[in-house]
Structure formats: structure tokens, C-alpha cells
């Protein structure tokens, strides 16, 4: 910022607001983290206290590792999330390119039809989806989840990406055509790199709900070997007793991979939000 425009009060206020917001946003995460390292009684007696020599305990983590196959759940969640994101981005970008680039009959109608999915929650179709999965034998496979999440993510992905792809210069694509590039090369080598910020945006918006989802894992893939992390953690939440140590520990560990993925996408994401325009 330019010195003449820098007003110390504004600067202070802006930073103050941002710090307050950060604290509020991080507070629950912080509480989960510290309590996951405490024994049960101190969790309830002093939920905000840091673990000390007396209250420190890793019993929650031990329970989590001993009960069920935590690493398998973890791996399942990761596979489902990454594979779904991959397909959402790939197919979403391809459909968006077709809608943005080619003039064909029903182009607008097709775009609207695809956008409709944004407004209709996919869970309404759960029963039909379950029937379909049963008849195709996909129940209790990770494919069931990947397919459903891909379908769930596509409408918004197509909507956002086609908007961005319309902004990619026609001249650039035409230059590629005159140089003899195929439409696939134009799509993968020229257009995709230019809409990378938008792709990152779509990835982040889709990632969290998929990672956290309980509904579809519970209905479509509740078997031991296909349980996701969220579903796996539910064993610690009982109707009468809840093993809070274990729940907090599982949650703490579930935060990690999303953080890693987020950091990977975030640079692109911020560029996507702030730049808006694609050159």
C-alpha cells in the first residue's frame, strides 16, 4: 500500500478485525487439539486448560489406534476424496470446455440442465441411488462413494469452470488450431493451465464436504473394509456413552490431511478469488 494512503488507524482496525476473526475461527480447532491430549475428567472439568503433567494423557489416541482399523479408514477417506476431486475436475472441466467453446444445438439448455444440480441436493435421490448401487453390485465398494461424490460435485464445477473458460482468449485457441494442435491438446495444454485458479477453487469447495460426509458412507459403504474416517469415528459416539477422548483424537487426526490438501490448493485459490480475470 502507498504511504500517502496508509492511515495508522485503518491499518490497526483492519489488523485487529483480522486477528479477532482468526482467533474465533481457530478456537474450536484449538480446543479439540488440546483436549485430545487430556484425560477424560479434565476434559470436562477444565475444557479450556492446556494439558499439564497431571491431565496429560494419550488414551484417546491409543483407543483410536486399537479399535478398528483406523489407518484403513484414513486411507479410504483419502482415496475417496482424491479420486472424487480428480473426476470432478476432469469431467467438470471437459464439460465446461464443450459448453464454453462449441456452438451446438441445445448448448444453453444443456448448461442450464447441468446447473440445475446445484439447486437440488443429491441426498433426495438416496433411495434410488442405493437401489442402483445394489443392482450394479457396487454397494460396499469405494467406487460407490466416488461415483456419488463426482455426480454431486459436477454441477457447480461445470458452472464455475465454464464461466472462466469463456474468458480464455479465442485468439489463443485459434492460434493453436492454426499451428495444428488437436482440440484435446488445446484443452489440456492451453486452456487448463489458464483456469488453474478456478480449478483450485472448485477443488477446495468440494473437498471439505466429501471428507466430512457421513451420510453416503453410512448408506452405501458401511462395511468394515470400506469405512471412511468420519464413519469409523462414529463407533466412539454411542447412544448412552461417548468416548470423548477417542472422538477428539480421531477428529484431530482427521484435520491433518485436509490441511495438507488445502495448503496445496490455497495459493491457487487465493489467486482465483482475487484475480477473477483470466488473461
Amino acid at each position: 500500500m502507498n504511504k500517502a494512503r496508509r492511515n495508522p488507524f485503518n491499518l490497526f482496525a483492519a489488523h485487529g478485525i483480522l486477528i479477532v476473526y482468526t482467533v474465533i475461527a481457530l478456537f474450536p480447532v484449538f480446543v479439540i487439539l488440546i483436549n485430545s491430549f487430556k484425560e477424560r475428567r479434565s476434559i470436562f472439568r477444565e475444557p479450556l486448560a492446556l494439558p499439564d503433567g497431571e491431565s496429560f494423557s494419550t488414551v484417546g489416541y491409543e483407543t483410536v489406534f486399537n479399535q478398528g482399523d483406523f489407518f484403513l479408514y484414513f486411507q479410504n477417506s483419502l482415496i475417496v476424496t482424491v479420486a472424487s476431486l480428480f473426476f470432478v475436475l476432469l469431467f467438470g472441466a471437459m464439460a465446461a470446455f464443450a459448453l464454453a467453446e462449441y456452438k451446438f444445438k441445445g448448448n444453453t439448455l444443456m448448461g442450464l440442465y447441468l446447473a440445475l444440480g446445484i439447486m437440488i441436493p443429491i441426498r433426495i435421490g438416496t433411495v434410488a441411488i442405493l437401489e442402483m448401487m445394489v443392482s450394479t453390485g457396487l454397494v460396499n465398494t469405494l467406487w460407490a462413494l466416488i461415483l456419488v461424490y463426482t455426480a454431486q460435485g459436477l454441477p457447480l464445477a461445470v458452472f464455475i469452470l465454464s464461466e472462466f473458460m469463456r474468458q480464455v482468449s479465442d485468439d489463443l485457441k485459434n492460434a493453436g488450431r492454426i499451428d495444428g494442435l488437436s482440440e484435446y491438446t488445446i484443452f489440456f495444454r492451453l486452456v487448463l493451465p489458464l483456469v488453474r485458479p478456478a480449478m483450485a477453487t472448485v477443488a477446495v469447495f468440494n473437498m471439505i464436504p466429501i471428507w466430512n460426509d457421513l451420510w453416503f458412507p453410512l448408506i452405501l459403504a458401511p462395511a468394515e473394509e470400506t469405512k471412511t474416517l468420519t464413519l469409523g469415528s462414529q463407533v466412539f459416539i454411542g447412544q448412552f456413552v461417548t468416548d470423548w477422548n477417542a472422538v477428539l483424537s480421531a477428529l484431530s487426526m482427521a484435520i491433518l490431511p485436509v490441511m495438507v490438501l488445502y495448503v496445496i490448493f490455497s495459493r491457487q485459490l487465493i489467486r482465483g478469488i482475487t484475480s477473477g480475470a483470466v488473461k
Binding site: 482468449s169 485468439d171 489463443l172 485459434n174 492460434a175 493453436g176 488450431r177 492454426i178 499451428d179 495444428g180 494442435l181 495444454r189 492451453l190 493451465p193 489458464l194 488473461k279
Partner: protein, 344 residues
């Protein structure tokens, strides 16, 4: 052999017809400029020639072959775009080489052609840079280089200088003219700038609303425009038009007179007031307003002391005038003389 022939080319987008029955020939080695106001279909015509758009009807022949069904990369053309359209992820060298690689040219041939183009366009120092590290002028030279290495039968330029500032525009214009001389290549060049058209073209094609208005050499068009539109479009400042009635002509016709053919005099036929003066040093442009509100531009050579609001009178030789009918068509001398005789 002709480099390009267009026969009855029409182009419609849905119900909107953008190009109407275009017929045209570009001879080998000729520099042809399409000129017309924005939105008249120049780019569309160029895209139809290049194959990026299909003609709705008509025949396109490049270098003797009908190419209606041939994809852009195989038509033997290369195109330079207004927005440069360089591949952002590739170096200057790779940008120029990509088309040749797609054609499966041998490596040493590619190297040689890129080096030759880089030398011609003084791009040698930038070969390893990315487009984002170049100035606008350099980017456009790379875009031109990318076209040159293909050794096309026909070059297509779509307003290549529009994004450059005035000084650079002149340099690049001279560079393109020089390129045309050294390569002896056939070129089609689209612009809305009459200076570019006049300075570069062997042949100018004036377009309006998707129709060819006139085709000819720059001086033919300047000295002998077919209609009021062409007369007004070529020449800067543009031709003055005034109702013929003001100087004793037929009431529904228009007289055209170029700014340099008008003089300010004390005894001129038309009384006027100076509304604005542009002192350019070498020239002085005086904008005057006639009693009936008609604006005229007078171009005086050298420096003159004229002040706004000054009352002047203007005059010109009738031999320098052009006559146009009510719908803008040119009235040739015979008809004009007849009406003049009728008046007197």
C-alpha cells in the same frame, strides 16, 4: 498463380448474415488490406479464409487448391492476431517452433528456420524468455516470427498493430512492409486504420456491413472513390461533405472536398466561423462551422495564425470536388455537369 480466390462467399451466424457475396482475388506476392469500420466483418472474413469458421456458402481457393474442407493447419496459412495469442507456458523459441513440430519437420530444419526468423525480427536475445517477460512490441514480433517460420502460402494479419502505442505502431508497420519485400509473400492484412491501409497495401479492399464497397490501389481509391463511404473512410483528416445546394449544385446531392484542397480567403464563397484550431507544426487543421451548421476541416500547410471564433470565408476549386447522389453513390462528371448547367 493467384494466392487466394474467394468466390461468392457468404457467412451467417444463425439468422444474421455477416458476409454478403464476397468475390476477391489476391495475386502471388500481393499485399492486400481489408479495411472497414469495427464490426463490418473483417475478422470474420479472415477466419473464414483461415478455416477457423466455415463459410455458409461459396468457394475458397488458396494457392490453386479449393480448401473449403481443409482444416486450418493444412491450408498453408499463418495468422497473426491482435492480442498476440502467444502460448504463455512456452518460451519464445518454443512458441515459434510449435507449428513446425506439429508438421513433423526435422529438428535441424526447425532450428534453422527459427534462427532465421529470430534474426530477421531481431529476437535473438529473447529466445529463451517467456512471453510474459516481453514488451508488447516484442510479443507482436514473436507472433509475426511464429507465422514466418511456417513459410505459409498466405499470411493473415488481424489488426496486428492495434494494441501497440503510436511510436511502436509505426516501427512495426515498417517492419511488416520490409518483411513483405524480403519474403515476397502474399499477405492479407485487416485493419480499421486508414494510415496502415494506405502505407502498406498494394491493393485495398473496403468493406462495409459485410459487403465489398471498392477494390483498388491506395491512390486509385483516394483519387477515385466509388462512393461517399469510401471517400470518407480513406484520407486523414477525412473528406468534408457539404450539401451541394450551398454552392449552387442540385439540392439533393452532396459535394465532397478533401481538407487539403480548401483554402481560407477573404473573398471565399462560403462564410464560416473558426470553431477549433489544431497546430501540428508542419500542418494546421482548422475546424470551421458554416452558417447552416455544417462542420468542415481545412488543412493548411505550415503554421498559421488563426484563432477560434474568428470569422473567415473558405473556398475551393470545383475541379477538386467529388459529387455524390442522395444514397451516397458517386455522380460522375457528365451527370454533374448536366445538373450544374441546369442550375445556371
Amino acid at each position: 498463380m493467384t494466392a487466394l480466390t474467394l468466390k461468392n462467399v457468404n457467412k451467417s451466424f444463425g439468422k444474421v448474415q455477416v458476409l454478403h457475396d464476397i468475390n476477391l482475388e489476391v495475386e502471388d506476392g500481393e499485399f492486400v488490406v481489408f479495411i472497414g469500420p469495427s464490426g463490418c466483418g473483417k475478422s470474420t472474413l479472415l477466419r473464414v479464409i483461415s478455416g477457423l469458421e466455415d463459410a455458409t456458402s461459396g468457394e475458397i481457393t488458396i494457392g490453386g487448391d479449393v480448401v473449403n474442407m481443409v482444416p486450418p493447419a493444412k491450408r498453408g496459412i499463418a495468422m497473426v492476431f491482435q492480442s498476440y495469442a502467444l502460448y504463455p507456458h512456452l518460451s519464445v523459441k518454443a512458441n515459434m517452433a510449435l507449428g513446425l513440430k506439429q508438421e513433423k519437420q526435422p529438428k535441424d530444419e526447425i532450428e534453422a528456420r527459427v534462427a532465421e526468423a529470430a534474426r530477421m525480427l531481431s529476437l535473438g536475445d529473447y529466445l529463451d524468455r517467456r512471453p510474459s517477460e516481453l514488451s508488447g512490441g516484442q510479443r507482436q514480433r514473436v507472433a509475426i516470427g511464429r507465422a514466418v517460420v511456417r513459410k505459409p502460402k498466405l499470411f493473415l494479419f488481424d489488426e496486428p498493430l492495434s494494441n501497440l502505442d503510436a511510436a511502436l505502431r509505426m516501427n512495426t508497420r515498417i517492419e511488416i512492409a520490409r518483411l513483405h519485400r524480403t519474403l515476397d509473400a502474399s499477405m492479407v492484412y485487416v485493419t480499421h486504420d486508414q494510415t496502415e491501409a494506405m502505407t502498406l497495401a498494394d491493393k485495398i479492399v473496403v468493406l462495409r456491413d459485410g459487403r465489398v464497397e471498392q477494390v483498388g490501389s491506395p491512390m486509385e481509391l483516394y483519387n477515385n472513390p466509388a462512393n461517399q463511404f469510401v471517400a470518407g473512410f480513406l484520407g486523414a483528416p477525412s473528406m468534408n461533405f457539404l450539401p451541394a445546394g450551398l454552392v449552387g449544385g442540385a439540392s439533393d446531392t452532396t459535394i465532397g472536398i478533401r481538407p487539403e484542397h480548401i483554402r481560407l480567403s477573404d473573398t471565399g464563397r462560403l462564410k464560416a466561423a473558426v470553431s477549433h484550431v489544431e497546430n501540428l507544426g508542419g500542418d494546421t487543421n482548422v475546424l470551421v462551422e458554416l452558417a447552416d451548421g455544417t462542420q468542415m476541416t481545412v488543412r493548411l500547410f505550415g503554421q498559421h495564425n488563426v484563432a477560434p471564433d474568428e470569422a473567415v470565408s473558405v473556398d475551393f476549386d470545383d475541379a477538386d470536388t467529388f459529387h455524390f447522389g442522395a444514397s451516397g453513390e458517386r455522380l460522375r462528371d457528365a451527370t454533374v455537369l448536366a445538373t450544374d448547367a441546369l442550375q445556371s
